[in-house]
């Protein structure tokens, strides 16, 4: 019996050490991650060489007030068109991607049709291809159609994202039951109405999660806009740096942050609620 007897003090000590290690690592990593953001918000408005320590210690409010002119100048300049372009592209890409992906995920789980399994495996297969590989062919195609400089040519490839469809299908499979569908049909609802009024609210957590990812990805995409949008008037924001060097970086980083803050209360529960049944 003495072999099986657990030494309680030893166990408690081991648990404590593990707890302290976890907290320490988490706090270190959090500090490492948050420092760049703090630095960004305190130094983005003043170009100048200062050491990291001084940057941390500087008073952000005073500096923001002092350099308010830079932000105002930005909004009066021509470069604000780039900001609007970025907003338009990101907004429509995200909305389109969410709707089309949710539609496809729904069609893959709720209906039995002939090519369902094929489309399933096809999406998984396509997920493994980096999208930038098709950039060269896409560039030729856009020039063949003479649609370069058109913002929609940047929006359409972003709408098609197999990763999003896969994720939404995974989520829908765990939260969907045929009873909702059948009872809605019994009440005489059309299929589109069922989708818009029943399924979309059901998938809100997954949609919120993927919306944040999609928005950030499209906002910061440097590959496709660089090759499609040639006119400086039509370009998206990351390229404004080339033309107008004193653009406040804060403008570039603010919209994704706002989107994240808006959706963030959905993201954690959303991602963890998705079941991993295949």
């Amino acid at each position: 019996m003495s072999d099986n007897q657990l030494d309680l003090k030893e166990l408690r000590r081991r648990e404590l050490i593990l707890k302290i290690t976890t907290y320490a690592v988490s706090i270190i990593i959090t500090a490492l991650f948050l420092t760049p953001f703090v630095l960004m918000f305190t130094t983005s408005l003043e170009p100048g060489q200062k050491s990291e320590f001084e940057k941390l210690m500087a008073n952000p409010v005073k500096r923001i007030l002092k350099h308010w002119k830079t932000i105002v100048l930005f909004f009066q300049s021509d470069v604000r068109i780039n900001l609007y372009n970025s907003l338009i592209v990101s907004f429509f890409s995200t909305v389109g991607c969410m709707y089309v992906s949710a539609l496809t995920a729904y069609s893959l789980t709720a209906y039995e049709w002939k090519f369902r399994k094929f489309l399933n495996n096809f999406i998984i297969g396509v997920m493994m291809i980096p999208t930038t590989i098709s950039a060269i062919g896409y560039y030729q195609m856009v020039y063949d159609w003479k649609m370069q400089n058109h913002l929609s040519m940047v929006i359409f490839p972003a709408i098609v994202a197999p990763v999003t469809v896969f994720f939404m299908r995974m989520y829908l499979q765990s939260t969907f039951s045929m009873e909702i569908l059948e009872s809605a049909r019994l009440d005489g609802a059309g299929e589109f109405r069922i989708f818009n009024n029943f399924i979309l609210p059901l998938m809100k957590p997954a949609i919120a999660t993927q919306a944040i990812f999609c928005f950030a990805k499209v906002w910061y995409d440097a590959y496709i806009p660089a090759i499609i949008l040639v006119d400086s008037e039509k370009r998206t924001l990351p390229f404004a740096f080339n033309i107008y060097v004193a653009t406040p970086d804060i403008i570039t980083y603010l919209p994704p942050l706002l989107v994240f803050a808006f959706f963030s209360k959905h993201i954690v529960e959303g991602v963890s609620l998705g079941s991993v049944k295949y």
Binding site: T35, E112, T132, G137, Y278
Partner: protein, 327 residues
């Protein structure tokens, strides 16, 4: 019976209708460019707005583009760099992410402040900097550099016998690229790992705890096998982002003459769009990248998703059926 089938068919046609937008958009905007790129790899396309000419038709061997790609020194550098960056980034990132995910969702050790940590870890992914003038990326790199510098300087000052020569490795572009990549991709790996772990029913963990499994055993024998589809997802995303990494090394200076930070994606970009329109070589390099991605993706699929026991069962059943037919 036929009426029920007719009803079902009437509803099932909506499956086709709902899938049409995705399929059409995908075929037009992804499949066709991909096939064109593959076709261009075998053509001669050297100038802007030219018509691709199929290589054998102008008397050159069909593998000329591939030959030129493999012979060029910058491609070999890019190839080597990409693989070094990828493997050096994935191993620490996965270890720390999975360890922290297991610790954060551990039931026996209730950790406080989980939400704060999850949000903080996710932030760098959200702000993945742009390729041109990514100030945030610069800040991340500056922070990482400063930390590394302070740590190594402290080690040197303490008289551990560390020379400036030894520290030089930690200041090199390669090391900093790897550190910055780990920063950026750690958050998303962590979030998906936590999602995978929390989707496992609690009863399994309770049963393991009752059977006396310690944490390590629980992790490797209960958590990881139950997480296979999520692991597949994470592995594929990591592979695709790692091999296609072009923005992090570019932030260090896109035209490094010693090619210390050249990756394959940057090579393709330089060939095709940065002044020289050598599309055919870029297409050949893209095709090679695609084949590599496909090869490793198939390996990942076989590792994680394929049900080996079920396949064996099916084979045995087929054999039995055949034996019964022959008897």
């Amino acid at each position: 019976m036929s009426k029920k089938n007719r009803l079902k068919n009437r509803y099932n046609k909506w499956g086709y209708i709902f899938a049409i937008p995705f399929v059409v958009l995908f075929l037009v905007f992804h499949m066709w460019p991909l096939l064109s790129t593959i076709a261009y790899a075998f053509c001669d396309m050297r100038r802007f707005e030219c018509v691709p000419r199929f290589l054998p038709s102008i008397g050159e061997p069909w593998y000329r583009n591939f030959q030129q790609v493999f012979e060029s020194k910058s491609y070999n550098d890019a190839f080597r760099n990409t693989w070094i960056f990828f493997i050096a980034q994935v191993i620490p990132e996965w270890c720390i992410a999975f360890w922290l995910a297991a610790m954060v969702t551990d039931r026996r050790m209730k950790m406080k402040g989980r939400l704060v940590f999850k949000t903080a870890f996710f932030l760098p992914k959200l702000f993945q900097g742009s390729a041109l003038g990514g100030v945030l990326l610069g800040h991340i790199i500056a922070t990482a550099t400063t930390v590394v510098m302070y740590v190594t300087m402290a080690a040197a000052l303490d008289g551990f016998g560390v020379d400036l020569q030894d520290i030089k490795f930690f200041m090199s572009v390669g090391f900093l690229t790897v550190v910055a990549s780990v920063f950026i991709h750690f958050g998303i790996t962590f979030i998906y790992a936590v999602a995978g772990i929390t989707s496992i029913p609690v009863e399994l963990f309770e049963a393991a705890e009752m059977d006396g499994a310690n944490r390590v055993q629980t992790f490797f024998r209960v958590t990881l096998p139950c997480m296979k589809p999520m692991m597949f997802f994470i592995a594929v995303v990591t592979l695709v982002e790692g091999l296609g990494m072009s923005d992090v090394p570019a932030a260090f200076g896109a035209f490094d003459s010693l090619r210390r930070n050249l990756t394959m994606m940057m090579y393709i970009q330089n060939q095709a769009f940065m002044g020289t329109y050598i599309f055919d070589r870029a297409s050949a390099a893209s095709l090679i990248l695609l084949l590599m991605c496909g090869f490793f993706a198939v390996i990942i699929y076989l590792l994680f998703m394929k049900d080996w026991d079920e396949a064996k069962l099916k084979r045995l059943q087929k054999k039995e059926l055949k034996a019964m037919e022959n008897a």
